[in-house]
């Protein structure tokens, strides 16, 4: 009985909320004011020709910097749940799977690279490229866990924080060169955005892969897996 009434309250609240939002949206003009014109007026100075990238990496680059910090924090959050062992492959990769991966993984890395490069003038960019890279990382983790365990410890930590560090470096660097925070020197804007996006792509890819593990990979695993591979070789 009590559960029912709680459910009822939630339903009533949700319906009221949906009504409120619908009422608000229907009351607004379809083509309301927006910053579209301003974006296109300034895109020439942004260093890229894709308006989305111009907004994300230049006009509102500060937001994106903080968003990459948030992604980085997601890893810290997962790691604060404790240590986990690297998930072993559920079963040894068969002939078909390893042959498929041999084609698929380079293709995924290439796609990520293309998306990253294309982001300057067409849809794409660091987040999309990073996601593809993250997918490749997860596939690798599911089949070749030995490779993944080789980069636990400081190389992994460096890769995870590279996006934030490079972005912050460029932001503060452009301030030291006489501009404001994140005010790229005009002729360098395009190349600096590419540098930031490259670091961010790498970091996002590694972050997504590490999140898949679901906790802090224990560094003891590394020695463990090296030992076990050694044994395998002996056989």
């Amino acid at each position: 009985m009590r559960l029912f009434s709680a459910k009822l309250i939630i339903i009533v609240l949700l319906v009221a909320l949906a009504g409120l939002i619908a009422w608000a949206i229907l009351s607004l003009p379809f083509n309301g004011p927006s910053l579209r014109a301003q974006v296109f007026a300034n895109i020439g100075h942004s260093g890229v020709s894709n308006p989305v990238t111009a907004v994300l990496l230049n006009f509102r680059g500060y937001d994106t910097l903080l968003e990459i910090v948030v992604l980085f924090l997601a890893v810290l959050g997962a790691w604060s749940l404790g240590m986990v062992q690297l998930p072993g492959p559920p079963y040894p990769a068969g002939l078909f799977l390893s042959a498929l991966l041999r084609i698929l993984l380079p293709a995924m890395v290439l796609t990520a690279g293309y998306l990253l490069w294309a982001g300057a003038h067409a849809p794409g960019g660091a987040f999309q490229a990073g996601a593809v890279l993250g997918g490749a990382g997860i596939l690798l983790l599911l089949t070749e866990v030995r490779f993944a365990s080789a980069i636990v410890s400081w190389p992994l930590r460096t890769l995870l924080s590279a996006g934030v560090l490079v972005f912050t470096g460029v932001a503060l660097g452009s301030m030291f060169l006489g501009g404001r925070l994140l005010e790229y020197p005009r002729h360098w804007a395009g190349i600096l955005i590419l540098v930031i996006e490259t670091a961010a792509t790498l970091s996002i890819g590694v972050i997504l892969t590490v999140l898949f593990i679901g906790g802090r990979p224990s560094e003891a695993d590394r020695t463990l897996s090296v030992k076990s591979t050694g044994k395998r070789k002996d056989k």
Binding site: V52, P87, P90, L115, P123, G124, G125, F127, Q128, A131, V132, G134, G135, I138, L208, L211, F212, G214
Partner: protein
């Protein structure tokens, strides 16, 4: 011209709503995850229709791909924990990946 767009968009919107309802009410978590991935892919299509290709790419890669993989990994962990807990019972309800 307009009606042909409606012919595509309306079913897409309805299927999205239906999938969302199904995945929220599904008692089987594995089924819910699969439905979530399907939802993510169709959502990407909806973003394309809204002319937001950037978001469509991100939705397909992150919403459907990586998030789906994360959910499956979490589900696998829940199931293996459960198996550990009821070792005595030979029957394991969980699905292994």
């Amino acid at each position: 011209m307009i009606w042909s767009q409606w012919l595509f968009d309306l079913p897409l919107a309805l299927v999205l709503l239906w999938l969302a309802w199904r995945l929220l009410t599904s008692a089987d978590l594995f089924k819910a995850v699969v439905l979530f991935i399907a939802f993510g892919l169709l959502m990407a299509l909806a973003w394309v229709r809204l002319q937001a290709v950037d978001i469509a790419l991100a939705e397909a890669a992150i919403g459907a791909g990586v998030t789906g993989a994360l959910f499956l990994s979490a589900l696998n962990k829940i199931n293996s924990e459960q198996q550990k807990n009821d070792k005595g019972q030979a029957e394991t309800k969980g699905r292994n990946l």
